[in-house]
Symmetry: C2
Subunit: 405 residues, 2 copies
């Protein structure tokens, strides 16, 4: 019997207990022994739950029990999740987590602590919910240089954008519907302002480049300003508006940011709809790989937590090669203005203005997307170059979206 | 310095040398030491290749050299690849391979040999080229019961079907073009008759269910009978015709087969076009995950071989948990007639016939797809049930495709 503890018995925590129970037979086969939840740490009591008698309120009960070999942290938020994780690692217990906030803010420190104490610290469930992405990037893609990672990393905003596209609806009304259905929270800021995606893209950037950037410092734009004109434009051009977390290297520095993009239909990520997530990894040998699936939800996310539990418990003897990250300094990080891609400008005016913009942006042509509104897709240009070029024409810009080719 | 040998210096073998050279720095970092190709086994000489002086023609040189810790087998075909792999494992050398034929035919035996000799036998590159799928199924999805696996597993046929769809062209002309472009071989039978996909789906079925079925015995239908009417029908219904390898359990027995399917646009695999592969895994906790990327090609496939090399060499001390498969007996395998799904029938006749077929198949309606040709999508029925129902109506069936929902 291998004893573990669950920290936080909310959606993912209780889901983890459910996955462990439901798939007990195969999990036991993988681990070579039964996995048992000895403690559940939560402020609440769960008298009606079959594991209700395992609930404790003091982390020290868990830390001081030598039988507990692994702690699964699913508390959410930075504190006390960070302190509890650090204490568990120091106590020589493996830690697995779904907590993107803790990884994005304290990943460097916690990974170092894990290495010092010869235990594992795994976090597959922190990005893309149940979608395998963290471990594949560390193992399957280990033979490749990562050129870029671009992901639909937030299910709530993807649900809203898909609805806006399919129904020609505006942001505010779809948000209300999403809230009614439980797909968006009462306070949706972390999702719709892009903060959740920002935490996830800095984790992916750290996996790709070994440097963890403070998520609060990266360029982050959500979907609150997306209108019917954006979705109509994307439709006209053949593609979709998607909220994308993107990272790549620019002249040796790391760019990471979150913003709405125009994604042409030729890019497989343009077909990732509803609450699903999709993560596109560009590499120097394999080319492009896409990982698609349920990016959130109780059982999908819990199944990734349990995959980490199996990974640790089935190879307990082994000191895992945990990634060695460092925290980013200003010199590591590329400027937003230097990020180069094609850009979709929608301007207000006459065909003559569109002609002017077309020339300035090195575009092949322009498309009428509404009365007096024209879309022009620039050649690949840095943001500052494109902005200077369009400003010099004097045409009135309604909006600009980077293009994810 | 860690010494390895490459068996077979064709497309994938030379690609592996290229990946090792191109990404040397990161591979060294992962393995903790430099990986060096000490021998290349091939019948030919490669005097102009930088590694030309490593070429040997006698496998015993490699087997008898204790410095060689790993053998990468990329010879293709069953023999002598199987014998050489077995000999290398017996000599205590790890083996990694891209050879789907060897795994599909001798996987049980070679995995057992590897376990006996406390070495690894890995085969990530054997299915889906460079796409991570074998290792994710063994690790990331280990917490899930696999309900079904459905894949576009052959790039050549997907290229042909995509062209047929986009250009309304017929099979024979597109095949010629694919051959001219080097996407299809002069003798395209293994691809277009579905044999290549059959080998891959039995490997995926073995990963899912632990039982390896002889690929020659599974129901296998290629794309040679696909016509413009098939693609026009799929277009009309909103979706695409795709060659799918599919496996699932039916009443405790394993069904595995290859055939063209109608894939509705709502299934993400319907958007996997051109030479790309996509593999959809249905699980009981995560739900559906899709793995997408380059399913063939020199560097993509080689990058998967090198990922296996890194996996072995970076954890050399560890005795890996290799899957324990058994060879299928007749009692393990489900009958094709019992495989239940929705089915798309196209019939020849009048609207009255279509009405009759609709009722017999429990369909919601029918669609006119050409002059006097009607498409009816049945409810979920086993093949034998559907065939009996349609036969009883006496209507003339032009073709029937299973539907991948």
């Amino acid at each position: 019997m291998m004893q573990i503890a669950i920290l936080g018995f909310g959606v993912v925590g209780s889901g983890t207990a459910e996955v462990l129970a439901e798939n007990k037979k195969l999990i036991t086969a993988h681990c070579g022994d039964e996995v048992s939840v000895k403690y559940i740490l939560d402020l609440r009591e769960f008298p009606d739950h079959p594991l209700g008698d395992r609930v404790v309120h003091d982390i020290n009960v868990i830390l001081n029990d030598p039988e507990v070999v692994l702690v699964a942290e699913m508390m959410g938020g930075s504190h006390p999740a960070y302190e509890f994780s650090a204490a568990a690692l120091k106590a020589g217990k493996h830690v697995v987590t779904s907590n993107k906030e803790v990884i994005a803010n304290f990943g460097v420190e916690l990974l170092a602590l894990a290495r010092e104490n010869h235990v594992c610290y795994l976090f597959e469930a922190s990005v893309g919910g149940g979608i395998p992405i963290i471990r594949p990037m560390q193992t399957d893609l280990a033979s490749n240089q990562i050129l870029a990672v671009s992901g639909i990393l937030n299910g709530t905003t993807n649900f809203i954008l898909t609805k806006m596209k399919n129904e020609g609806a505006e942001f505010a009304e779809v948000l209300k519907e999403a809230q009614a259905k439980g797909y968006a929270e009462a306070n949706p800021a972390a999702d719709v302002e892009g903060l959740d995606a920002a935490r996830k893209i800095v984790i992916l950037a750290a996996l790709a480049y070994g440097v963890l950037i403070d998520p609060k410092t990266i360029p982050t734009e959500g979907i609150t300003k997306i209108t019917g004109l954006h979705t109509a434009t994307a439709d006209k051009l053949g593609g979709a508006v998607k909220l994308i977390g993107h990272t790549e290297k620019i002249d040796g520095k790391i760019y990471a940011g979150v913003s709405p993009y125009f994604v042409p239909a030729s890019n497989p990520i343009s077909h990732v709809d509803d609450v699903f997530n999709g993560i596109l990894v560009d590499t120097n040998m394999l080319g492009r790989a896409l990982f698609y699936g349920a990016g959130a939800g109780k059982l999908p996310t819990a199944s990734a937590v349990v995959a980490d539990i199996i990974d640790v418990l089935s190879r307990r003897a082994e000191e895992r090669r945990l990634p060695e990250w460092k925290n980013a300094s200003a010199a590591d990080v590329a400027q937003k203005g230097d990020y180069a891609c094609r850009r979709c400008y929608v301007i207000d005016g006459c065909p003559k203005c569109a002609e002017k913009a077309k020339t300035a942006l090195g575009a092949d042509g322009f498309e009428t997307v509404a009365d007096g509104k024209f879309a022009i897709i620039s050649r690949v240009m840095s943001e500052q170059e494109a902005e200077a070029a369009i400003a010099a024409t004097g045409v009135s810009v309604v909006f600009c979206l980077p293009v994810l080719d």
